[in-house]
């Protein structure tokens, strides 16, 4: 799983968010290192929806502007947990190597 996709799942893990909300959350989560554009974001959301990992939560119209909120599905939460576990193992091993224990 690519880093932006992982961060999108993490962002949606907390609460349902709309497009711009996800973009801001990803930027915050990565300390400003990952900035995803709207085109990339919606392509990722489409892909995650096809994989049944993300679904529409609600739709709001404000001042003629449409905002759709997305949330994680049960599958999405499970995938996020598995991916996080894998990444945690990598981090633990890398830290062990850096500290001279590997």
């Amino acid at each position: 799983m690519q880093e932006p996709t992982y961060l999108v799942l993490v962002a949606l893990g907390e609460k349902p968010l709309h497009g711009y909300g996800i973009m801001k959350a990803v930027e915050t989560l990565s300390d400003g290192r990952v900035k995803i554009g709207a085109g990339t974001l919606y392509a990722a959301l489409d892909r995650l929806a096809e994989l049944d990992q993300v679904e529409l939560d609600r739709e709001e119209t404000e001042g003629g502007r449409v905002r759709r909120y997305y949330r994680l599905t049960r599958t999405g939460r499970q995938v996020l947990a598995e991916e996080t576990a894998v990444r945690s193992r990598y981090v633990a091993r890398a830290l062990a190597i850096l500290e001279g224990k590997g």
Partner: protein, 298 residues
Amino acid sequence: MSSDDRRLEVWYRVLLRLYPREYRQRRGEELVTTLLDASPPNATRPSARSVFDLLRAACLARLKLATGGNVGRMVADGARWAGLFFCAYAVLRNLYEVWWLARCLAAGFPVDGLLTLSTGLEPAAFCLAFIALWQRWRVGALASATLLVALGALRALSYPGPDNWGFVLRMALPQTLPLFAAALLETRSAPRAKPERIAHLVAVVGLLAVVKTFAGHDTHGVALVAGSVALVALGLFDPRFLAALIVLRSNTDGRMLIGALERPWDVRDLLAAMIPPLFFVALTSIQCARARERMLRT
């Protein structure tokens, strides 16, 4: 909404035209809202970064819609069928050469030992490659392809004249490349029903036999053109026939391209070499349009 916002929105709506219409209808308003939310205050035109991002995403959306969402499978499927088709054809061609050599020997003509050995082994190697591709044994197909290159080299050594290795490059490699490509890609394609495989293969090989029988060695022959047109017509219904067409022509077009480079004033060679790629582009476009229609219907 300020005039700056309106101007920016117009810019974004123009950029959204890059996306397929169906995508715009589904996502357009939402995308514009997000793009405007993410734009810096008082911006009057999109940043280069967001233009590039939209361009990239729009291209991917179009590609996904055109290929039914699986570009890799379409390419891999075509390559595998091209490889199978090529092997079947090569077996027939080499058997013909074996028969021709046998006639030479029977008539008492001196025939080179290396040439006889190479020509005799090639049909068996192509059969192995065919079986390996059919059964999706990637390693087996690659091994067969390597064996064929070695046999091609052996055959080149048996030809008189100083340009033996030039012969290998011109003949053996172009003829083996489709097999290599198919072997590498075939494992990515999804399995299909066996009756469908057999029906397509019989149709393709049958057409090839007809075309080759009538065309002979005349690369500009009417029969070859007629056969190509028949494959093009079938290609409208199934992209694998397009792959078949390319392989059919690949046997002659390598030589024609070299001929065109050696004799640039002779336009016929260049035109003949350009026909298959042009057919491929045109017919792939038609196939893509059909896949898109199917996808929209579902």
